[in-house]
């Protein structure tokens, strides 16, 4: 074995460590710069089983809304769900759901089992919209303003604190615009 070969693992690890370091500096909740303040990509999503309509850009027009990406296969989504129910009950902002990598049946079953906080839900089985939005994992949520532009991105579960300290004040601001 060549002397240099023995250093290969170290070199590989060094490269990884640099990435890990850069990954740490990145705020996981920060949005890719080109999407913020940009209009949502155009989409027209099919409904879940049993629902009449899916979800399209037009549904979000003229109002401040919360766009939430979830999936029935996603355990963190189950943890986030009660918070969404609570937000829906409060009536502060309509929530629109993107059911990601799911079948119409699984999506419908999920909503029946856990309750439905969404004004409307669209299916994105092949990640078309998810890729356009740059989704890293579910759950993920976006605040959309009246003109249909993305104003804020939240990665991961919306906790009580996220809601009261970040999202709610932002929604009030967007509504006042």
């Amino acid at each position: 074995m060549g002397r240099w070969l023995a250093f290969m693992p170290l070199v590989l690890f060094a490269v990884l460590a640099v990435y890990f370091g850069m990954g740490l500096r990145e705020d996981p909740g920060a949005i890719p710069s080109q999407l913020i303040d940009e209009p949502l990509p155009a989409f027209e999503l099919a409904p879940v089983a049993g629902a009449e309509a899916g979800l399209a850009n037009a549904d979000l027009a003229g109002q401040v809304s919360l766009l939430n990406v979830f999936g029935s296969w996603c355990p963190p989504c189950a943890i986030e769900h009660p918070m969404l129910m609570q937000i829906a009950r409060s009536g502060v902002v309509p929530i629109y759901g993107i059911d990601w990598r799911d079948t119409p049946e699984a999506g419908a079953a999920w909503l029946e089992r856990h309750g439905n906080p969404y004004t409307a839900v669209g299916l994105d089985p092949d990640s078309h919209l998810a890729i356009d939005l740059g989704i890293t994992g579910a759950p993920e949520s976006f605040l959309i303003d009246r003109d249909g532009r993305v104003r804020y991105r939240h990665v991961g579960i919306i906790t009580d604190t996220d809601w009261t300290q970040t999202l709610l004040p932002l929604i009030r601001e967007l509504k006042a615009e």
Binding site: F13, G23, P28, Q34, P76, M83
Partner: protein, 658 residues
């Protein structure tokens, strides 16, 4: 008061660990036996101190002392005592303390059980181990203090996530950690061997029981995690390629490669540098697994801690432990010269191929887990990698690996002949093809995948049994003579056979659960029924009741098949008011040929309750296969190779006394 006691114990443990690391290295340099003795007793002291801290935290949870931050955030007076106690490690700080506890416990075990090891080697091992422990304790004390106070103390706690109130979850982390941390011992031995610049078959024999113990715990831990997901998540998902699941799979794959190459090194004194590298990589992956998912680099359900400051600390630990050991490897691996040679066709070569496949599979999972991170770091693009990626890459790779299992076990060491092996395995080959064809014929769904899986399972299972038959000369000589051979067969061989049978069972179970599953759902009013694969499921009634810390809605279902009554099942939905959260308690009718899995959803006025039914063929065999794997690990642990170790012991003991 209890909290302060725990805090003090933790700080003392940190000091002892640092002292032991420094004194150990110094002792090896000056060759003074006093240092060697300190290494052993220091390990015990660390364990006692960390155990005290852990006992303090447990007591705080038991008495619900909400003036302690962690308790206030993760407990509640209404919670059953057992879940108050499992709440100790249901949060970031507590789980890190559990890590430290298990780390020092293996350290103490090493101190008590590792006799007959050359004093320099064991002292160096303790020093490396203490360094790792010190790094951990520093992380706990400085960034994740479990004993931090909260003032004013709240009247009641914020409860534990109800999804996590489950016996499976109470036992899953300790097992998993015992596996992760167990590999720290083999890691420390490997670093010690690198420092010494010498490693031989005896080293392999010393390390083997530790590697097997860790591997067995890790296997059980992963299986418990999968069964928790299966029973608790409400749709029978047992593996989702979630980053955290991958984090436990990677060290398992590397560890599996490690125990195989360790065997080669023990028997044939070769593959030394490779084996040492695997020892380093296995523990490194355990560290990366535990930490990166906790640092917020990758978001996931299990990511308890999202805090950049912790992340920086973790990165520091990774640099120290992994970077340091790999640098040492680069400097010293050249000194590890093999003495054994082997031909292209031999058990060594097939085991090397096994290792390369496992390493490649591990790299694949690593790539799938971290690729999204790489992409977001270098560009603004984001991508996601899910199950389809692993189905297309990981599974074919494992399938090829499984093909090799019976061949490898039958080949002779050093130089083998393929001819006799092929003859012996012909029945297995024919049976596998036949089973595949039958599966193709019978299956209603996913026929091709099902056929391949079935054929593979039969090939591995029958191949392993044929290997056993030829080892015992069964039906070639007297039964009593075969029995005598069976009793003489080394425990390691029995372990191998049982574990490989476990693999065969797992292949079949995974095939059944994923390829042949079926589901249906319907709204049912009491008295109405639905049908799935011949089962008729009738909703008898739904009952609401208030329980200790949740509200229950239990649906009773009567099951029948072809007009035959099969009894009743109860599917439950629980609502936890404190967290405004609902969980599903599925009703599962587990039989050897498969599970009938039923859940009940929220009721809708006028339409009834939504009932979901799933058929998961062979699901029980997932757990049986995993149990066989763990049993194989345990059997191999009992191998008499250890007796040979003590036979040469007096010399080693003399050195220690002198």
């Amino acid at each position: 008061m209890i909290a302060e006691l725990g805090q003090a114990a933790l700080i003392l443990a940190f000091v002892v660990a640092l002292l032991q690391a420094v004194l150990g290295f110094a002792g090896v340099a000056v060759r003074d036996p006093v240092f060697h003795r300190f290494a052993r007793s220091g390990a015990l002291v660390q364990f006692v101190l960390v155990a005290t801290a852990f006992a303090c935290l447990t007591a705080l949870f038991a008495v619900s002392d909400f003036s302690v931050l962690v308790v206030a955030q993760n407990s509640h007076t209404l919670k059953p005592l057992i879940y108050k106690l499992s709440g100790v490690w249901g949060n970031h700080e507590g789980s890190m303390l559990l890590w430290a506890l298990i780390l020092t416990r293996s350290d103490a075990a090493l101190s008590l059980f590792a006799r007959h090891v050359a004093p320099r080697l064991i002292t160096l091992t303790f020093s490396v181990q203490s360094l790792v422990t010190a790094a951990f304790l520093a992380f706990l004390i400085f960034t994740s203090n479990p004993f931090a106070r909260l003032w004013p103390a709240p009247l009641d706690g914020a409860d534990l996530n109800p999804l996590l109130q489950d016996p499976g979850l109470a036992t899953h982390p300790p097992m998993l950690y015992a596996g992760y941390v167990g590999f720290s011992i083999t890691f420390s031995f490997a670093v010690a061997a690198l420092i010494e610049g010498r490693v031989d078959a005896r080293w392999a024999r010393i390390v083997r029981p530790w590697a097997l113990t860790a591997w067995t715990f890790l296997t059980i831990g992963i299986a418990l995690g999968a069964s928790w997901a299966y029973y608790e998540l409400g749709w029978g998902g047992w593996w989702a390629w979630d980053p955290v699941e991958n984090a436990s799979l990677m060290p398992w794959l590397a560890g599996t490669a490690f125990i195989h190459s360790l065997r080669v090194m023990e028997k044939r004194d070769t593959l030394k540098a490779w084996t040492i590298l695997l020892a380093l990589v296995t523990f490194s992956l355990s560290l990366v697994g535990t930490f990166l998912v906790r640092s917020g680099v990758i978001t996931s359900v299990h990511a308890f801690a999202v805090d950049p400051q912790r992340g920086v600390f973790i990165l520091g630990i990774l640099l120290l432990v992994i970077g340091g050991s790999l640098a040492l490897y680069g400097l010293r691996a050249g000194h590890l010269k093999p003495t054994g040679v082997f031909a292209e066709v031999s058990r060594e070569s097939t085991l090397l191929v096994n290792n390369l496949f496992l390493a490649a599979a591990c790299a694949l999972v690593f790539f799938g887990t971290f690729y999204p991170l790489f992409i977001t770091t270098v560009s603004d693009e984001t991508i996601s990698i899910g199950a389809p990626f692993y189905h297309a890459t990981f599974i074919p790779m494992m399938a090829v690996l499984f093909l090799l299992i019976p061949v490898s076990a039958m080949l002779a060491w050093k130089r083998g002949k393929l001819g006799p092996v092929a003859r012996k395995l012909t029945p297995a080959f024919i049976a596998a093809i036949a089973a595949g064809l039958i599966a193709l014929w019978v299956a209603e769904r996913e026929a091709v995948a099902g056929a391949i899986g079935t054929a593979l399972a039969v090939w591995v299972g029958l191949g392993v049994l044929l290997d056993l038959k030829s080892r015992l000369k069964l039906f070639e000589i007297d039964l009593s003579a075969s029995w005598a051979r069976a009793k003489r067969l080394p425990a390691a061989i029995w372990g191998m056979i049982v574990a490989h049978l476990g693999i065969a069972v797992l292949i079949f179970a995974v095939t059944g659960v994923s390829a042949w599953k079926d589901e249906a759902s319907a709204f049912l009013m009491p008295g109405q029924s639905m049908e799935l694969d011949g089962y008729v499921i009738e909703l008898v009634g739904v009952e609401r009741s208030d329980r200790e810390n949740f509200v229950s809605q239990a649906g009773t279902l009567a099951i029948s098949r072809d007009g035959r009554e099969l009894g009743e099942m109860v599917a439950e939905r629980r609502f936890y008011p404190v967290r405004e959260m609902a969980t599903t308690e599925s009703a599962i009718r587990a039989r050897l040929d498969g599970d009938l899995y039923v859940t009940i959803g929220e009721g809708v006025e006028g339409r009834g309750w939504v009932v979901h039914a799933y058929i998961y063929p062979l699901a029980v065999w997932l757990w049986i296969g995993a149990a066989l794997l763990a049993l194989g690990g345990l059997l191999a642990l009992g191998d008499r190779g250890r007796r040979a170790l003590s036979a040469r012991a007096p010399a080693a003991r003399d050195v220690e006394l002198g």
